[in-house]
């Protein structure tokens, strides 16, 4: 029982971390109709920037404080992500107004390559460390209730809280502001949005910038867990089932989806995995999402797919 609980908790917290990445996808999709495959690359890029700046800034500016270094590095990386967003709008999106989804998706794949190359060129391809003082040692709770207690990862716990806060913030943004509505309009029809005076350019910069910051937060947390190096971008693939399970257009969906996928894959790996040789969590997550889609093709919380003649 304690073991089950522990797996469950572990799954929930991993799920929250997936949500953080999934959130980036949802934001951009919801606000511009672009399925941004570059989200993983952005996570890596942001994390690399943060990790390197945290190392460089104290050297350049001659101070020692780790906290200050991290704060400044976060800001610097944020600025870089803003620059990235701006460049993407300028050089890519602006020229692809009103194009089909597949084309836009392809463009984001191009961006992925570019960012991967650029990130490694500027920041190097070694493993770097982000040390934001996350506690690494586990916490054993409920030792009296269960034999061996229930192990909780403090680092994950903190990360989950940050993720939840971010999601709450973004949900508010979408629901309560008129910009949120404009963003949804843009996703539906670029041309019509233009025709009523929504400045696509500015909107896109804003959205990609927000997504960049979300990527930065995700990169920071994942980076401090895993170390910052190239494979960080592959967590995007882990977040995809979360995105479709929750619904491409739903911010809260990203969270719920994350929790379901997190728990599903951990439980399956731990309980079913050993029977079939293990390593099933990845496809299990996708299968889980697929099965849900069979019943709700738009994901749990996504907007209904419109199909009318």
């Amino acid at each position: 029982m304690g073991y089950f609980l522990e797996t469950l908790l572990g799954g929930l917290m991993t799920g929250m971390l997936y949500s953080l990445v999934a959130l980036g996808f949802v934001l951009i999709f919801k606000a511009s109709g672009v399925f941004n495959f570059a989200q993983g690359a952005m996570v890596l890029f942001a994390a690399l920037a943060m990790a390197r700046f945290a190392g460089w800034l104290p050297k350049w500016l001659g101070f020692e404080s780790v906290i200050l270094a991290n704060v400044l590095a976060f800001i610097a990386a944020g600025i870089i992500m803003f620059a990235v967003a701006w460049m993407i709008e300028r050089l890519v999106l602006r020229h692809l107004v009103n194009q089909e989804g597949a084309t836009l998706l392809m463009a984001t794949l191009g961006i992925t390559y570019f960012l991967d190359g650029l990130g490694q060129t500027i920041f190097g391809s070694d493993i770097y460390k982000i040390d934001i003082g996350m506690p690494k040692e586990p916490l054993i709770a409920l030792e009296s209730t269960f034999q061996g207690g229930v192990l909780i990862n403090k680092e994950d716990l903190i990360a989950a809280v940050i993720a939840a806060a971010l999601v709450a913030l973004l949900t508010l943004f979408f629901q309560k502001t008129s910009t949120g509505r404009a963003l949804r309009a843009v996703a539906d029809d670029h041309q019509a949005a233009q025709s009523i005076g929504i400045p696509l350019n500015r909107i896109w910069v804003i959205v990609w910038c927000v997504a960049g910051v979300v990527a930065l937060v995700a990169g920071m947390i994942w980076g401090s867990k895993l170390g910052v190096q190239f494979s960080l971008s592959s967590i995007a693939l882990r977040a995809l089932p979360v995105v479709i399970l929750g619904g491409l257009t739903s911010v809260p969906g990203a969270i719920i989806g994350g929790l379901i996928i997190g728990v599903g894959e951990k439980l399956s790996e731990v309980y079913i995995g050993p029977m079939v040789g293990g390593g099933i969590e990845i496809w299990f997550a996708y299968m889980l999402a697929l099965v849900v889609l069979l019943f709700r093709p738009q994901g749990l919380f996504g907007e209904k797919i419109i199909d009318r003649v």
Partner: protein, 269 residues
Amino acid sequence: MDPKKIVLNVSGIEVIYNHVILVLKGVSLQVPEQGIVALLGGNGAGKTTTLRAVSNLLQGERGQVTKGSIELRGERIENLTPADLVQRGVVQVMEGRHCFAHLTIEENLLTGSYTRKSKGEIAANLDKVYAYFPRLKTRRTSQAAYTSGGEQQMCAIGRALMAQPSIVLLDEPSMGLAPQIVEEVFEIVKDLNAKEKVTFLLAEQNTNMALKYSDYGYIMESGRIVMDGPAAELATNEDVKEFYLGVGGGQRKSFREVKSYKRRKRWLA
């Protein structure tokens, strides 16, 4: 043309789609302040393209203005973004509705007032649109994609009005609307023109209506302006009567008779 001030001056524009398809071959037209100008012509004449060129919505269609100039109140506008144009008061109602499918009717309308900041003004505009189109009010919570064709058309027109434009480019506003609504739409146009001094450039197939309500008309055919003149004059022109109003030679012809006199080929004889 009247001595009134020209707000929109299109001179000699050429438009090419996809780098190869030449669609407009030197179109020039002027829209006077507070005028209602109609752009008439058959399918594929290039009316929509002309409007898109003015509102700068060509880019998304991979079209390009390659020659000529477009001036709004003396300012060249070819390089402005559509959003800039809306800021300057030019709003287009696109052909084929283009409502935001996932947004409700009301959200669609509110999105139309993106450039307006004052809350009170927005609310007033919304009321005005609902007053013009009561049907929209009853369907306001429905997602636009699930409303009927005519409702969507009303929504598209209403949405444009929410931006409080000074110039409206209307592309086939009457399409798909029931007769009395068509009339209403044109009444609204007249109303706005008279009361709020809004200028209109409208592309229409419903020549009858268009000439009835506009001051001046241009007739396009395959990418060129072939005739222009004050609306009243056009309406009495023999060719226009014959081909656009269907009253050539006096009496309106029945659509059923058309069949025999126009038939030129037996199908699958």
